[in-house]
């Protein structure tokens, strides 16, 4: 599950990864190949992760990896597994539903393990495009995920 806002510089790394995965999937023709078991599936939750809950549950994941830009004081573009306890429970309002609520609902319904993968951002300023370090990490994650699937097959 990729999260982020493509109009906020490096916050767009999640949607960037989703776009690359979609392109890879189209190139491989995975959705069309009958009988193929897709062990890697994804949803771009963008800025409204609360809207993908039922879709995510329907896909019944064994493991839910939430990929988002983060600021944990790491090197630019560094990717790190973030313990779920460190995911901030932002204040709930009619305007925002905390990410932890969304992932818990999915985990409760599917029994999936949830992993938060944070990518150290350089900038969250208004504007399109990723910084070089963050884009390289995004591409490396896509490569890892797609290679990993090929290996499984």
């Amino acid at each position: 599950m990729t999260v982020g806002n493509s109009f906020r510089s490096d916050d767009g790394v999640g949607p960037f990864i989703a776009d690359r995965l979609a392109a890879w999937e189209d190139a491989e023709g995975l959705r069309e190949s009958e009988g193929s078991e897709i062990s890697l599936d994804w949803i771009n939750a963008g800025q409204n992760p609360e809207n993908i809950i039922e879709d995510a549950i329907a896909r019944n994941p064994d493991r839910l990896v939430v990929i988002d830009a983060a600021d944990f004081g790491g090197k630019p573009g560094e990717a790190r597994i973030i313990p779920s306890g460190l995911i901030p429970e932002s204040t709930l309002s009619t305007h925002m539903v905390p990410l932890s609520v969304i992932t818990q609902l999915i985990a409760d319904a599917t029994g999936s393990e949830t992993v938060f993968l944070g990518i150290q951002a350089v900038s969250f300023a208004l504007g399109e495009g990723l910084t070089i370090a963050v884009q390289e990490t995004g591409e490396a994650i896509v490569k890892f995920l797609t290679q990993d699937k090929s290996n499984q097959e």
Binding site: N48, I53, E54, L92, T94, V97, I102, A109
Partner: protein, 441 residues
């Protein structure tokens, strides 16, 4: 010896924005009771100056992520009023549908996420995941459905694209009407357990006689987008004279202006609309209102949430009716217009003053523009519902606190927080909102 109470809630949760509640009781006498609004002004009126009326709705929709359609429609209405443009009946019908979708989205989130935890005895929405998992999923599913219908109608979940001065840039096809109808039917299904849940809510007993203000009209429609300014204290007032109703004034503890009309305060929002327009609700909504004990004129502000539930029932049924009408009569696709900034002059423009008055989820919203001959905004004024409710909330608190002095500090604080939350304030919009500060209890 009397009791001293000092309440200081420095960050009221489950409201939008930042505000504080400050209560000071000395020797059982209320000395101070106020709602501080501590957010910075946002200067949207200033941003609108010298901008075209044809882009104003895209700017003002950003005032609020939850009321973006309401601001869009108020902006469009003010602009059209200023240049003397009358939208077609089809446009008016689809705008009503758009307003219903936003009302549903906002009310459902308020009922489920913000109010339900208080009435189900938990501190926030999060513990409900363990105890009421199906409720949480239903709430978010319904929200998504409202957003999805909105996307079909106006191109995006929030901040509508296709709704503009003059009409719509894109009109729904037959297939899209069917898609929206299907989603509304699913909302109708989810509404049943929502009503069952709400029927279990026990709202605090409290009443205060106040003035209620909402749009009223001569038509059969429960008014969201048309009519005059109705009040329980007198005859309706034309929307052009909105300033004679709002009478904004500044208080030192709030960065949002307060309002008053015939009395020291007035209330806007779902309860005001219910009280003034009960007869125009769909029959099913009236039946449910009776079943849950809500009758006009209700003077209990906590029941604003119950009124929101009733409006949800109305909005779903009316939305279905609108779409079925569209299917039966057909949508005239030739009405779709591309205006841009009106470079081609397809919409005649003239100088003038216009007022938009729209019932958004939290109450009546006014936009007023002075427009030049070129269609540029010279001055703009936006009066937000939460701002109109602030004085009323404070007067409610001043009546409530002496009535509950026998309770613990924690119980008093909760009652005050619930009271403020019942108004569903959007402090970010009003300037912005909520903390309770007890002094000298």
């Amino acid at each position: 010896m009397g009791r001293n109470i000092n309440v200081n809630v420095e960050y009221l949760t489950r409201v939008e924005g930042h505000g504080n509640i400050v209560v000071n009781v000395r020797e059982s006498q209320l000395e101070e009771c106020r709602l501080d609004i501590v957010e910075a002004p946002r200067f949207f009126e200033g941003m609108l100056r010298n901008r075209s009326i044809f882009e104003a709705q895209h700017i003002t929709s950003r005032i609020c992520g939850i009321c973006s359609c309401g601001h869009t429609l108020a902006s469009i209405q003010a602009a059209e009023d200023a240049i003397g443009f009358t939208p077609s009946p089809q446009t008016q019908k689809l705008r009503r549908l758009l307003m219903h979708l936003e009302t549903l989205d906002s009310h459902l989130l308020h009922i489920y996420l913000l109010v339900a935890p208080d009435l189900l005895g938990v501190k926030s929405f999060v513990p409900l995941i363990n105890t009421h998992n199906d409720v949480v999923r239903r709430a978010l599913r319904m929200k998504k459905t409202c957003n999805d219908i909105c996307e079909v109608l106006v191109g995006r979940h929030v901040h509508p694209i296709s709704s503009i001065v003059g009409g719509f840039t894109k009109l729904p096809s037959e297939k899209e009407l069917d898609k929206m109808l299907g989603m509304l039917r699913s909302l109708e299904v989810d509404m049943k357990p929502t009503i069952d849940l709400a029927a279990t809510f026990v709202f605090p007993e409290f009443e205060r006689d106040t003035e209620f203000v909402a749009l009223v009209s001569d038509t059969d429609e429960y008014p969201f987008l048309e009519g005059d300014i109705g009040t329980t204290d007198g005859p309706p007032i034309p929307k052009d004279a909105y300033k004679s109703v709002t009478n904004e004034f500044i208080v030192s503890h709030s960065s949002a202006k307060h309002c008053k009309n015939k009395r020291g305060s007035y209330m806007v929002g779902a309860l005001a609309r219910f009280n003034l327009n009960y007869d125009k609700l769909v029959p099913n909504a009236k039946d449910i209102a009776s079943a849950i004990g809500l009758h006009p004129v209700s003077k209990n502000p906590y029941l604003n949430t119950a009124a929101q539930l009733i409006e949800c029932i109305h909005c779903i049924e009316d939305s279905i009716r609108i779409i079925e009408d569209c299917k039966e009569e057909g949508v005239d696709q030739s009405e779709a217009i591309l205006v841009g900034l009106n470079e081609t002059g397809c919409i005649p423009v003239q100088a003038g003053h216009g007022v938009g008055a729209v019932e958004v989820p939290r109450g009546i919203l006014f936009h007023a523009y002075d427009v030049s001959e070129e269609g540029k905004i010279i001055t703009a004024n936006c009066v937000i519902p939460t701002g109109q409710n602030l004085a009323n909330i404070e007067l409610d608190m001043k009546k409530l606190v002496p009535e509950i002095l026998d309770r613990t500090d924690e119980e008093i604080t909760l009652s005050l927080e619930m009271l403020v939350r019942a108004y569903d304030p959007c402090i970010s919009c009003s300037a912005h909102f909520l903390n309770v500060e007890f002094k000298n209890r």
